[in-house]
Amino acid sequence: MKTFDAAQVQSWFTRYLADFVDLPESAVTLDTTFAKLGFDSVDSVIISGAFEEAFDVEVDATLFLRNDDLRSLIEDLRASGLIA
């Protein structure tokens, strides 16, 4: 199974999410809650799709819904073995 580096995943998400909401990357930290960025369930599907494409993996559709911020999302990916 493929694994990724936590820093690599974090920097991808920071860039994508900042782009998504038209904010500078500095506005997206490990603790910025997704709710605060205004994501809904449709957005989370779109972000999952882009992540899958970027990393050539499949992730669970609920990945975003069950995590509130980047920190817990990365932990979640670690628990599922995607992050080494």
């Binding site: 909401v21 038209d22 369930s41 779109i46 799709g49 882009a50």
Partner: protein
């Protein structure tokens, strides 16, 4: 010297079709000169590009529409409309080109003239129009709501489409139901009818053939985003105009039950092609509106217009059912006076004078609000529900018809029949001959037992003072008002005996007015599952504790989540979702 007339169309509309035998004729009608307003002075052409339908449309079939119409055939064999769109763009001759990626979308009557007028306001305009969906719920929820092509046909009939194309707003959902009013105006991800001058189409390079998922994935969003970000352009949003999606099996993304799975595939494709986030256009935009039909439609549909006869009739019926004219009541009073005089008790009349004004106010107030003053003093009207509840009922039945909610109308607990007469009256006024009105009642008043409770004492008093009304009396009143007919069905007997086997198939409106716990519970148990999605449930007696107990227990048992709406101090209602 005379120059040859310029026959270059001012506008080309490119419409993509794929297996749309049902939808395309309406779309083309909605683009035709007979339907589009303000296009008299404009030459425009419509190009349908068929993307590989088994039986492609033929231009001759639409000859009656008076359109400058060409049908092209895209044979690249892809499920994406992108090649077809680019083919249409290449064939177009207009100075402006409007692309409609989905041929199942009908237009509002000012779409084309507003697009032309708006594009004249700026040298580099990107004209955006809103995308609505026919039906009162999102079409992707059709598997829950029962929405279908047949329901949609009935909806369109209900607004007599294409008589006034702006009425499409009354029977559709989309931007206007967005959480924020401002969403209506914001340009968002994509437009299903986007108009650019031909030079801008060239500059942006048309649609990207890289988008090859069925339906074109995010190609239309991509086109809109890329054009909105060309240098020096101005996004102009059309207010009061839109396209309206008809229900069909072949549509992209949102109209599908598995929409979210599709969305993920679209997102993957988009990221692969663009390597950036997929997001709406968030540039400042201009807002352009020529007509305010839509505002009128959504705020006060009848203001300024002559009152239609059906409404006059129903207003009159309402007065009659509430007995507001009250001639009979006055007659009763004069009869009472005559009796007292004949009996030599004029002294009582004299005595009553002092308290009369006060009692009169109580009596009138109670009747208007549908409250019982005293179990021995039932109102004189044909319904005891009062004005608020009667008007609410009328609006519900009108909504059932406007929104083509399928099914019959049922009342459990009829008394003199006024509420049922209102249901029948709306059907008559609107010329509906399909639906039945079911009248369930013992026609001998309330039962003495309410489950384990013996209610004999109160019930006997009520029944003896006029709560028990025979079927013959109710029939006579229906006949007197001209409402009797085959569609009026009587179910005489106790609810527990008649309702479980009643031959009612589907219910659009269920009105419960049986007062007791058991009467309410029996009716809900026997009939609730027959109420269709979008149907109404009205509980007349919610202010009576036994009735409220029954409703609450039933809702809890069935996990009913739909919020209840208060009608007045007695009654509640809710609308079934799924």
């Amino acid at each position: 010297m005379s120059a040859a007339p310029d026959l270059t169309p001012v506008l080309t509309v490119v419409v993509i079709s794929f297996e749309m035998a049902r939808e395309l004729p309406r779309t083309l009608l909605s683009l035709s000169p007979g339907y589009q307003q303000g296009m008299e002075g404009h030459l425009y052409e419509v190009i349908v590009v068929d993307n590989g339908s088994a039986t492609p449309p033929v231009a001759a079939d639409f000859a009656g529409l008076g359109l400058d119409l060409r049908v092209l055939h895209c044979t690249t064999g892809t499920r994406s409309p992108v090649d077809a769109l680019n083919m249409g763009l290449a064939a177009s001759r207009g100075g402006l080109v409007c692309c409609m990626i989905d041929g199942a979308r009908m237009a509002s009557p000012g779409l084309l003239s507003a697009s032309i007028a708006a594009s004249r306001l700026h040298p580099r305009p990107i004209v955006f129009s809103a995308s609505m969906m026919l039906g009162h719920h999102p079409q992707w929820r059709a598997h829950e709501t029962g929405y279908s092509a047949a329901v949609e046909d009935a909806l369109l009939d209900s607004i007599r489409w294409p008589e006034d194309g702006y009425r499409l707003f009354e029977v559709s959902n989309g931007q206007s139901s967005a959480p924020s009013e401002l969403r209506w105006y914001a340009p968002g991800h994509e437009s299903n009818a986007v108009t650019l001058p031909r030079a801008l189409w060239d500059e942006v390079g048309g649609y990207d053939p890289g988008f090859q998922t069925a339906g074109g994935g995010f190609s239309s969003c991509d086109l809109f985003s890329r054009s909105a970000h060309l240098p020096g352009v101005q996004v102009i949003v059309l207010g009061g105009e839109a396209t309206f999606h008809q229900f069909h099996g072949k549509s992209a993304s949102t109209a599908h039950r598995d929409g979210l799975d599709q969305l993920r595939v679209f997102s993957q494709e988009y990221f692969r092609l663009r390597n950036c986030a997929f997001k709406p256009v968030r540039k400042p935009f201009w807002f352009f509106q020529m007509r305010n039909q839509v505002l009128q439609k959504t705020t006060n549909p009848t203001k300024g217009a002559a009152i239609p006869p059906e409404q006059r009739y129903l207003d009159l019926l309402e007065q009659r059912l509430l007995n507001s004219g009250a001639r009979e009541v006055e007659a009763h009073l004069r009869a009472l006076v005559a009796v007292l005089r004949a009996e030599g008790r004029a002294d009582l009349l004299k005595q009553s004078r002092a308290g009369r004004a006060y009692q009169l106010r109580r009596v009138i107030g109670a009747e208007q609000q549908g409250l019982l003053l005293d179990p021995t003093l039932l109102p004189s009207a044909l319904t005891m529900t009062g004005r608020r509840r009667l008007q609410y009922l009328r609006r519900c039945v009108e909504t059932v018809l406007n929104q083509a909610i399928p099914g019959d109308l049922v009342e459990c607990g009829i008394w003199r029949g006024g509420s049922a007469m209102m249901m029948a009256g709306v059907l008559v006024a609107r010329g509906d001959q399909e639906r039945k009105v079911w009248l369930a009642d013992s026609f001998e008043g309330l039962p003495r037992q309410d489950g384990d409770y013996d209610t004999t004492a109160q019930v006997d008093l009520l029944n003896a003072n006029g709560l028990a009304v025979t079927e013959a009396t109710v029939r006579a009143s229906f006949t007197e008002l001209g409402l009797m007919g085959d569609s009026i069905c009587f179910l005489p007997g106790w609810f527990c005996d008649t309702l479980p086997s009643a031959p009612i198939e589907r219910i659009a409106l269920l009105r419960l007015d049986g007062d007791h716990y058991s009467s309410t519970m029996d009716a809900l148990t026997a009939l609730y599952h027959k109420v269709v999605s979008g149907g109404f449930i009205i509980i007349d007696d919610y202010a009576l504790q036994p009735c409220a107990d029954a409703v609450n227990a039933f809702r809890e048992m069935r996990g009913i989540q739909e919020p209840m709406e208060r009608i007045d101090q007695m009654a509640m209602a809710w609308r079934k979702h799924v």
